[in-house]
Structures are given as structure tokens and as C-alpha cells.
């Protein structure tokens, strides 16, 4: 059975026919070849699959593709590139918050959702917002510093 869906991914419209048992992370990675979003566990325990669904962070491994119909999905690829980086991406580089980088997309998208709501978020709030993304490299300390610095940049820009 195929279900036709329309969705926006990073602002670009897509029209697809998906199987009901297809997940959003599979759609992004395998149909749209946007492999920036990762799948570290498949069951919502690690956060590496986090994307923003209508601006809200969700584990895309637990969202059926059909439930993305008519919605807007934001992934790491839409955030910025070498021509213009998002303040979070800049701060991650400046603060040394990237090690192996596998959790980076999930962390950055979670950070974006937080800072979009509250760029002045303090350390406790930052930790809570990112508490659902596991980093085995243990880069947590510099990740918090990076999010804080990005928030300051975003406040400055307003």
C-alpha cells in the first residue's frame, strides 16, 4: 500500500508515495539522501535522529513518514553551509564541540529549537533541552559552551 504525501523539507517541497511502515528518518536518509540525520538506535533512545517537525524536536525514527504529510521538516542540511553558517554551527566549530560528529546534527537541531524559543537560555536549560541526545565522545561540556555562545550571538543579532 502506498500513501501519497506532500511535505516541505528545509523549505523545499516534496511529493512522495510512502509505505505506511516507512519512518521519517528512513524517508530523509534513503529517499531524499539527506544523510546528515542519523539513526543510532532506531527506537528513540539516543537522539541522533532528531529533526524539527514544525520547529519542534522529535525523534524521526519514531515518526511515520505518513505523519509528516503537510508538515515542515527541518534537518541539519537546511541550517547552513560554508557560505553562511548558523550561529550554532559557527559556535560548535569555535568552541571545539565536535569530536566524532555523529551526535552533532541531533544536538544542533535540539539546540536550534531551544534558542529559537529562548536565545538567553542558561546552562541548566541548555542541558535539559539537549538531555535526549547521547554523546559517547563525551563532548557535553563544550557543547553546552557552544550553545550558550550561539545564544549570545543570536541575541546580539536581534
Amino acid at each position: 500500500m502506498k500513501v501519497p504525501i506532500k511535505l516541505l523539507v528545509n523549505g523545499e517541497p516534496h511529493q512522495l508515495e510512502v509505505a505506511p511502515n516507512e519512518t521519517l528518518v528512513e524517508l530523509l536518509r534513503e529517499r531524499l539522501h539527506l544523510t546528515g540525520t542519523k539513526e543510532g538506535c532506531g527506537v528513540g533512545d539516543c537522539g541522533t535522529c532528531i529533526v524539527l517537525l514544525e520547529g519542534i524536536p522529535v525523534n524521526s525514527c519514531l515518526v511515520l513518514a505518513v505523519d509528516a504529510n503537510g508538515r515542515h521538516v527541518a534537518t541539519i542540511e537546511g541550517l547552513g553551509d560554508e557560505r553562511k553558517l548558523h550561529p550554532l554551527q559557527e559556535s560548535y566549530l569555535e568552541k571545539g564541540a565536535v569530536q566524532c560528529g555523529f551526535c552533532t546534527p541531533g544536538m544542533i537541531m535540539s539546540g536550534k529549537a531551544l534558542l529559537d524559543q529562548n536565545p538567553a537560555a542558561g546552562e541548566d536549560e541548555i542541558r535539559r533541552a539537549l538531555s535526549g541526545v547521547l554523546c559517547r565522545c563525551g563532548a557535553y561540556k563544550k557543547i553546552v559552551e557552544a550553545v550558550k555562545a550561539a545564544g549570545e550571538k543570536m541575541q546580539g543579532a536581534r
Binding site: 511502515n21 511515520l64 535539559r128
Partner: protein
């Protein structure tokens, strides 16, 4: 990585349609709300539904409203984070927001729904104890029509509720706490964030207008019995006289004694009982502070 096996898929436009579909499809048909539990189980292979009926297109189930003089009405499809951040909930039933805030991780809270959490009937549900102590009721709709069900007594065992086949929770009615009331939910896991609860204790106390005793006391526990459980004996202890330090400790011991946790891969039964005692005492202390007018 894990893949979901194929299933027949339906989207319900109304509650009646969902109820009808569930009845028609019979066994092997499941209602899909937030999916954080259902889809995870399907990926792990512990559940293989033949049919999924998606409830999320049904309008009118994801709002939070106040009925003045009565209490809150929370739609069953309201997300856990919706409860966590709702100014209405934080204003009148803060304990629900706090319980919601301790569940899973932020992104999971954005997906999971209150109806899904309660309907899933996990003995460790973080939302259940608070709803019990607040005397919340559920609006339920099935083939036989609509009815109201108390949360206290809703669960029959792990994964089992009093709902008939094809019945769906549509809303939660949470009556206002009386004046002089305070409620708290204390939980602990193994680590600070993103963890399942090893023991959870919800307490709601109402001070009596006179003296140092209580007019009302409700206590409920999570993760230490086959279902979320109301701790009636603890309530009796609390209501038996003035609420001294000694009485609070006695109540805490009673809670531990009445709980019947199992030993599993997450914790031993003795440790869970120890936590129940500690969390009950701490919950009572906090609820008492709040009842007396403190803000936290």
C-alpha cells in the same frame, strides 16, 4: 537498523470512525497516537500489529481548557510536553506539569501523548500517580457510547486496563484541588536524564481548616506494583492524626511496606522499596510546604 514490518493502515477522521475501525478490524488492530511506545515495540519486534489506526487526524483531542470552578480538561492527544509547558496546567495543577517534565527526553515528550501514556498501562507510568491523587477522571468512547472512568482503578495489570475492546480515551478531567492543598511527584531513576522511573510517588494533601491535621490525603505509587497503585493504608496513617515528623516517617514506611515491586534488570525489589520510603517522605514534605502556601 530495525525496520517496521508492514501493516494495514487507516487514518480516522473522528473518534467514532476510530472506534468503528478498531471494532471492525478486531484483534491485531492498534490505535496509534504519539507512537513513542507502539512504534518502538514494533521496531523491537515485541509487537506486530496487523493494523494501525492513526488517531492524530482527529480534531478536538489535543486541547487544554479550564472549566471555571471545576478544573482542567486535557485532550487525550495532548503531548506530554504540552502538559509540561501549559500555563493552565502549571497554574492549577503544577504537579502534572512536573511529572510530565520528568518523563523520557524532550523530543520524546514532544511526541508522546497523555492518552497514549495512560492507555499503554505501564506500571511505571510517570503520569498515572499524579492523576490518581488528583482524582482525575477519563472520558472514554466506545461502540457502546461514552462514559467516565476513574483513574484510580483504571489499570488491571501490565498493559491491561478496564477499557473494553475498541474503547478510546478522549479526554482527562482533572478537578481543582481545594484550598490549602499541595501536590508533589517525586521520582528517581538510575541517571539524571532520559531515564525510566525505578520508583515514583505522588502525594496530594489538603490541610484541615482547624488544627494541624489533614482534611484529605491521597498517595499513589508508580513502578512498584503490577499497576500504578493507590496507597490507601498510607493515606489512613496520614489522616489518623496531626501531621508530625514521626507520622510522616510512619507513612513513608507504610508506603514501602505496601509496595510490591519486582526485581528486574533495572533494579532490585529491596532497592525500589527503599526508594519508595525516601520518596514518600520527601513528597509529603514538599506537598505540605505547598499546601501551607510555599511556591516550591
Amino acid at each position: 537498523m530495525n525496520r517496521i514490518r508492514p501493516f494495514a493502515y487507516f487514518e480516522a477522521g473522528t473518534v467514532a470512525e476510530a472506534v468503528g475501525l478498531l471494532a471492525r478490524e478486531g484483534s491485531g488492530a492498534y490505535a496509534l497516537a504519539g507512537g513513542t511506545d507502539l512504534l518502538a515495540q514494533m521496531k523491537m519486534g515485541t509487537l506486530t500489529p496487523r493494523v494501525l489506526i492513526n488517531l492524530k487526524r482527529i480534531a478536538g483531542l489535543n486541547g487544554i481548557g479550564r472549566e471555571p470552578g471545576k478544573g482542567l480538561r486535557i485532550g487525550s492527544l495532548v503531548s506530554i510536553s504540552g502538559i509540561e509547558h501549559s500555563p493552565l496546567v502549571r497554574e492549577s495543577h503544577r504537579v502534572l506539569a512536573e511529572a510530565a517534565g520528568g518523563l523520557g527526553s524532550p523530543s520524546i515528550r514532544n511526541l508522546g501523548t497523555l492518552g497514549g501514556n495512560i492507555g499503554r498501562a505501564s506500571p511505571a507510568s510517570d503520569m498515572a500517580p499524579s492523576l490518581i491523587v488528583l482524582r482525575a477522571r477519563m472520558l472514554v468512547e466506545g461502540l457502546q457510547g461514552k462514559r467516565e472512568v476513574e483513574t484510580d482503578g483504571f489499570w488491571k495489570g501490565p498493559g491491561a486496563t478496564v477499557l473494553a475492546a475498541g474503547e478510546l480515551i478522549t479526554a482527562f478531567l482533572v478537578p481543582d484541588m481545594g484550598p490549602g492543598s499541595g501536590a508533589a511527584y517525586m521520582r528517581l531513576g538510575r541517571r539524571e536524564g532520559m531515564d525510566c522511573t525505578l520508583a515514583g510517588v505522588a502525594v496530594c494533601l489538603t490541610l484541615s481548616e482547624s488544627g494541624s491535621g489533614l482534611k484529605d490525603a491521597r498517595v499513589a505509587l508508580a513502578a512498584v506494583a503490577a499497576t500504578p497503585m493507590r496507597a490507601k493504608r498510607v493515606e489512613e496513617v496520614l489522616l489518623s492524626g496531626s501531621l508530625t515528623e514521626e507520622r510522616m516517617k510512619e507513612a513513608a514506611r507504610a508506603a514501602a511496606a505496601d509496595s510490591c515491586p519486582v526485581s528486574d534488570i533495572r533494579a532490585s525489589d529491596t532497592y525500589r522499596k527503599a526508594l519508595v520510603e525516601v520518596l514518600t517522605y520527601r513528597g509529603l514534605a514538599k506537598a505540605l510546604r505547598l499546601a501551607k502556601g510555599a511556591t516550591s
